[in-house]
Symmetry: C2
Subunit: 199 residues, 2 copies
């Protein structure tokens, strides 16, 4: 098997395990077992655990960028794009109720561990923050675009945190609906499309 393919497998598995069990609680052996590699052979692909973390964060950043660009293409209006973001909460509800927001929980853990890569993880947040900010600016809210972006991000983090604690799917849908109402109120003139009822 080619090295790059094995490497990608390692990063995929590590990504999943870091999300499900946390970075610190995931051991080299755990990743190796799931990839089907011998423990020691890891050294060939990744010298240290931190190196794996860096690769995982880089991959998440790349995928996030791709997702945001796709929304930029697909969604008709900035308002629709923001709705796409908000609806991530519903699309990923099962995983969120089990393990929280991948970005938020990673940032929290790395902050507690006072880990080098902490700032890199926060940069994942910044991707969303800047993208949301641009959408709000496009809606004519240039003056407070960044504050609005942080507000949306804040809400989704809060929803994810409580959804994990209480495992309440209705709560998620209720708060998403509330965010949509809020969104409409922010830019009454803008077209947000038809406000679909949550399923």
């Amino acid at each position: 098997m080619s090295a790059s393919k094995t490497r990608r497998q390692i990063v995929d598995v590590a990504d999943r395990l870091f999300y499900e069990h946390g970075f610190d609680a995931t051991s080299f052996a755990d990743i190796a077992r799931d990839v089907g590699l011998s423990r020691g052979n890891f050294y060939y692909h990744f010298k240290t655990k931190d190196e794996i973390l860096a690769a995982v964060i880089a991959q998440r950043a790349a995928r996030t960028r791709a997702m945001l660009e796709a929304w930029e293409q697909d969604a008709a209006s900035p308002g629709e794009r923001i709705r796409s973001f908000v609806h991530l909460l519903i699309a990923n509800r099962t995983k969120i109720m089990a393990h929280g927001c991948p970005v938020g929980t990673l940032c929290n853990e790395l902050a507690k561990l006072d880990h080098m890569a902490k700032d890199d993880a926060v940069r994942l947040f910044s991707l969303f923050r800047n993208w949301l900010s641009r959408q709000f600016a496009a809606l004519g809210r240039d003056a407070d675009a960044d504050a609005l972006a942080l507000h949306v991000l804040m809400r989704s983090q809060g929803v994810a945190a409580l959804a994990t604690a209480f495992r309440d799917e209705d709560f998620i849908r209720r708060e998403v609906a509330d965010m949509e109402t809020w969104l409409q109120a922010q830019c009454p003139a803008a077209s947000f499309g038809h406000s679909r009822q949550p399923v």
Copy 2:
């Protein structure tokens, strides 16, 4: 030194270390060092690490209950009481920016570790949830009191999460002010006291 006093010291130190570095990353040795006890002697006071965690959670629950009762006494109106809760974000801003919300981060970590005590940690959330719910009910919002309580809890969790990531004190004050405005709008008839400007 009396056993109960040493025990209390252990729980206090463990509480702090669990908050600052997380449960998993805090070792027996770390706690022992900070208390000034020999490593091995822990066995006398606590058989297992989980036992320490249970004691820490129990202490947090007791202190939370005491705080909520104090607010019940001090604050004139239910609205003022809810404000007391919201202003925790500002009062504890430094610690929150460094280590997040003590309850939220603990729940997240225990969920990832799939730890026995997970539900006990969530019960800390429920203390706030039920208390807030009672305040909203007292404001005449019986029908959706619990949903409103969850909404307030959700917001404070979101603010704490992003405050940790971006270390932005202004963001905290802005969102607290926004929550106060929202609060006024929820129960226009109720007395919320004068809306102080955040310092």
